[in-house]
């Protein structure tokens, strides 16, 4: 599988990454090489094999539905790039 610079731009859009136009050709070549290495997986016979998402057979632990966390809004917003009145600021979304 090889990727064109246009496909790289499309993947970057899906990943919400802005790429400099001059970088897409190199990325296309590098990503194609990685996918070519990965392509050896397609030859493996995996009929009847269960996909393994995780190394251990775990079930999600549950806890009682009780309030356990104090409100730490100020601490969690202290490192935010822009906040006002306890809210995170982003550029205007609705005109």
């Amino acid at each position: 599988m090889s990727l064109t610079p246009e496909q790289v731009q499309q993947v970057a859009h899906l990943a919400r990454l802005e790429l400099k136009p001059e970088k897409t050709t190199l990325y296309a070549q590098q990503l194609s090489n990685i996918l070519a290495m990965v392509d050896q997986l397609t030859a493996v016979d995996t009929r009847g094999v269960m996909p393994m998402a995780h190394p251990l057979e775990l079930t999600q632990r549950l806890r009682p539905d009780l309030v356990s966390e104090p409100n730490r809004r100020e601490a969690y917003q202290a490192h935010a790039p822009a906040v006002e009145a306890g809210l995170f600021l982003v550029p205007k979304v609705i005109e």
Partner: protein
């Protein structure tokens, strides 16, 4: 013998006997960092105020008595572990100004619970993605054995500072070999425990089904002491294992007579440098002398580890790194005119090239139309790799393999070719995919550069792995050697 040449046990004895104080010990290391780290770039943040405050607290506790063995002993923290009040940058411009509002569980366990002293935060590949420490926003770390060579990665700062005696021991993390490969490149002992044994809470996530924290040290005994203090169940990590921690330290003296060691033939095929092969074969011979019974085994799917990993790990990374959006924390672009531009520009400016590549590969293999062919297929092959190990441990106790194909390479040798760089982890990745414990320890030198070999154990068999490694180190002195310029 200088303070920085002591084992952790000897340091603890010295502190207990009042031969030196934790403050003196800490000052000794801070002075060495000031003297040598310009050459290595292993620390991204040195924290003398915190270190001396913790050292004084440790001295007070030592004077009162009844403290644990690690009280007052310094340690360096990989900059992937969140530390309240001290920047946690994870090697990235994205987090260059990030100060976490909480401590990672292992930070709490090592400092608050065990009384260790934090010297600072050490350099690493950006978001732990790399095998040479060349992807760090803070510049590459140099290998103390040869300053023109990489220290390995991603835990490059951890190994460089310990190998050079700028810290007695350091934490590290391993998603595909990031503890074991750098340990092999710098003559250290490094262990990645079973997945779920050490809490991942507060450890910045790269690939959550593979990431595991561990330690790099100058001996197995030192590594065991730290791993013991780091391990254990943590309700704050949903994949933490509810199972008591074995005693990793007091069992180190056992004979390995009759121990069954398997040599996977796939790991001893072509690809290993002759100098590495010679050292690894000598290690096998030494273990035979100690009474181990060695046999050839097969892990037929192991050669598929690298392609499997480079689907699974980027897929998980692309999801984990989605949280870096320029809104709640991390780098925020000043150029954005709308919300989509804010995301795209913040991420485009904040992430380096290797991280961007992995995010794109991950996004691609998870995208509509490719999910089954790549991601689902990789998860199935991962199961085959896991089954290989399960079968192997029915007949052997421990699996032995090389850690790396060669010794530390020169800066720039692999940095233009991602696939060549990825193949560095060909021997280490399978253990992460299966989730088993694995370690690397020194077994000689090739043209002046250290060589390591790898021991892989069954699930939760850290105590046995460490005992085998300790027995080997009782019979050999490779691990006691240090780089000459940093004595």
């Amino acid at each position: 013998m200088s303070l920085h040449q002591l084992s952790l046990t000897a340091m603890a004895a010295g502190l207990a006997a009042k031969q030196f104080s934790s403050r003196e010990l800490t000052q000794h290391y801070l002075a060495r960092i000031a003297q040598f780290d310009d050459q290595l770039n292993s620390f991204v943040s040195v924290t003398p105020e915190i270190a001396l405050m913790q050292a004084d607290a440790a001295d007070a506790r030592l004077a009162a008595g009844g403290v644990g063995l690690l009280t007052g002993i310094p340690i360096a923290q990989k900059d992937i572990f969140c530390t309240t009040g001290v920047r946690t940058a994870c090697g990235s411009k994205m987090l260059d100004k990030f100060v976490a509002p909480y401590d990672a569980t292992i930070v709490r366990k090592l400092h608050s619970d065990s009384g260790m002293v934090m010297l600072g935060k050490v350099n690493m590949d950006e978001f732990a993605m790399g095998s040479s420490n060349e992807t760090s926003f803070y510049g590459p770390v140099k290998n103390p054995w040869d300053l023109s060579c990489v220290p390995g990665g991603s835990s490059g700062g951890s190994v460089a500072c310990v190998a050079a005696g700028l810290a007695p021991v350091a934490t590290a993390t391993d998603t595909g070999g990031s503890i074991r490969q750098p340990a092999a490149f710098t003559n250290l002992t490094g262990i990645k425990p079973t997945y779920g044994r050490v809490s991942r809470y507060g450890m910045i996530a790269f690939a959550s089904s593979l990431d595991q924290a561990g330690v790099v040290a100058r001996s197995t005994e030192d590594a065991a002491l730290i791993l013991q203090a780091m391990s254990g169940f943590d309700a704050l990590d949903s994949t933490s294992i509810e199972r008591p921690v074995d005693d990793l330290v007091t069992g180190l003296g056992q004979s390995i007579k009759g121990l069954k060691i398997g040599l996977p033939k796939e790991y001893f095929a072509d690809g290993m440098a002759p100098g590495v092969r010679t050292c690894v074969e000598a290690a096998i011979a030494q273990l035979k002398v100690l009474g181990a019974v060695v046999s050839e085994i097969s892990l037929p799917n192991a050669p598929l580890s690298v392609p499997t990993y480079y689907v699974v790990a980027p897929a998980e990374a692309s999801s984990n790194l989605a949280r870096m959006d320029g809104v709640r924390f991390g780098h925020r672009s000043q150029e954005a005119r709308n919300l989509e531009e804010l995301y795209k520009k913040s991420r485009g400016e904040g992430f380096g090239a290797e991280v961007q590549r992995r995010i794109m590969i991950g996004t691609y293999v998870l995208s509509h139309g490719y999910y089954d062919a790549y991601y689902l297929q990789a998860q199935k092959v991962r199961n085959l790799i896991y089954q290989d190990f399960k079968r192997a441990y029915e007949t052997v106790d421990v699996i032995l393999a090389p850690t790396t194909t060669g010794t530390a390479f020169k800066f720039g040798d692999n940095s233009d070719d991602p696939v060549a760089m990825y193949l560095n982890d060909i021997y280490t990745i399978a253990a992460n995919l299966a989730g088993i414990p694995a370690m690397s320890l020194p077994c000689g030198f090739s043209e002046g550069l250290p060589v390591g070999f790898q021991l892989m154990g069954n699930y939760f068999d850290e105590a046995r792995l460490l005992n085998v490694a300790h027995q080997y180190q009782q019979a050999t002195d490779f691990h006691t050697q240090s780089p000459k310029e940093f004595v």
